[in-house]
């Protein structure tokens, strides 16, 4: 593998890891709120969360490009804007992979018997205590699915990165873009190596998730 490919692999893994971490931190309270609320805003929020599933990545990428630009809503808060930066990529990826993390968590939370939480509340457990002692362990398969899908989906991202990444080696060039570049340059051998690697990676990840979930007794 060329050093450019290795650095693309490194950027990809770093991006997926950080994105997944952020999504679990933000997605968990969001999914919990969605699973418990009777607010009239629930449906709107659910729809917004699900949008990346159906939108062409270029649409999301286009709006992100504008938002991350030096004068944009998000970019304006920084000196040089966030477009074509790793940070910008993390923000884009987080939005793009949001439903893949929130939906499995929301489903897991929703399937918890409310009686278990009520029982815990009569056993001196505060709401936060109940969340960590009852909800989290009972939602373990949901967390595993959410983390894996979030990670794998970010690794496989192309359109959004193309729009806002700028393809800077070592900074914003990810594997999927590197493959595209190789094909454009007719370097099919390198394209094969990277594509085959991603294919295998995706298969293994999904296989592990499905196996884990079918083993889980609850």
């Amino acid at each position: 593998m060329e050093s450019a490919d290795i650095s693309a692999l490194w950027v990809t893994l770093r991006l997926a890891f950080i994105t997944t971490l952020i999504l679990l931190l933000l997605g968990t309270p969001l999914a919990w709120w969605l699973s418990q609320t009777q607010s009239r805003f629930k449906t709107v929020v659910e729809t917004v969360v699900a949008l990346p599933l159906v939108l062409p990545p270029t649409v999301l990428g286009f709006y992100l490009l504008i938002a991350l630009a030096p004068g944009g809503i998000i970019g304006g808060m920084t000196t040089h804007g966030l477009a074509f930066s790793f940070t910008g990529l993390v923000i884009g990826s987080a939005l793009y992979s949001l439903p893949f993390v929130v939906q499995p968590l929301q489903n897991a939370f929703r399937s918890i018997n409310p009686l278990n939480l009520q029982a815990a509340s009569t056993l001196r457990a505060s709401p936060l205590d109940r969340f960590f002692s009852i909800v989290v362990p009972l939602s373990r398969p949901g967390f595993i699915t959410a983390a894996t899908l979030g990670f794998a989906h970010t690794v496989g991202e192309f359109g959004v990165v193309l729009m806002i990444g700028g393809n800077i080696p070592g900074e914003t060039q990810v594997l999927s873009i590197a493959i595209y570049d190789h094909v454009e340059a007719l370097e099919y051998t390198q394209a094969h190596w990277l594509s085959g690697g991603l294919l295998l990676f995706s298969f293994i990840i999904l296989f592990l998730v499905y196996r884990q979930n079918s083993r889980w007794p609850h």
Partner: protein, 358 residues
Amino acid sequence: MSGIEFCFERKQDGFQLHAEATLPGIGVTALFGASGSGKTSLLRCIAGLDQAENGHLTVNGECWQDSSRGLFVPPHRRALGYVFQEAALFPHLRVRANLEYGWRRTPGRERKGNLNHICDILGIGELLQRYPSQLSGGEKQRVALGRALLNSPQLLLMDEPMAALDRPRKAEIMPYLERLHAEADIPILYVTHDLEELARIADHLVLIEQGRILKQGPLAEMFASIDLPIAKDENAGAIIQTRITRHDDGYHLTHLQFCGGEILVSRIERATGEPLNIRIHARDVSLALQPPGESSILNVVQAVVTDILDQGAGRIMVRLDAGGAPLLARITHKSQSRLGLQIGTAVYAQIKSVALSI
């Protein structure tokens, strides 16, 4: 100030709870009513699982809710035990961790009892390493009860803990509940719609109808009334306080003495001299004007009719006084006419069978 004093007003899904009462601060109080009468709603308001818009609750001097002051203590800050209809054990924790869940969260100085003692009382010592999915319905309910007791409660709330169990499982749990009743030093509120069940474990009875408290009183007094809804129950019957006078090993019988005479029952393994409450179902009492001749029925007591109530459908409930003890008899309208029963009529009450109470 001892006792459980409450007043709740709550509207939900077209149902209205409006309950106000002061209940005893010790012993087992049964909340009895038809399904949908609001027993569970009341219990959930007392636990704080539901919040009555307008409410006030004091448990043995400690105020848990006073909406006029905006005070509402959330359930996790109330020292209570709650046993749900379905055991609601935590499926990811072994029995031991389930039992210790509340215990671990109780400050050391407030802890009462201990794991070994509770396991002994409830017979669950062998189950500690199992997961809830590996327990039978009766075992689950015993663990749930143990978990509630190890929370060192000042009030134990039980919501039809046996409703989800079949008859053999109920029979399996009953002795543990009776033992709990004997050992517990905290008030217990027990929701049920089963008269048999409550007759065996309750001291005090609260009747609930359409979200309101219809009447409350000591169990024996309530069971002896014929104008309450419980008198219409298939299992209606009076409770009589007796004392064991002797055992007859030849016939395998035990003699019980009460103020209206003597009653023979199948041998009971308890010492002579011990007090014993028995329950005589109204359906098991038949009346005669003359002393009955030769009969297989052992127990005949003399009594006087004190009250008669037509329950409709040809059924008459008769309240009797047997030397100071109450007795109920359910007879047909036709029998009443034939015997010419009136208040003051002297009768012989033949008792076909006797159930033990607490």
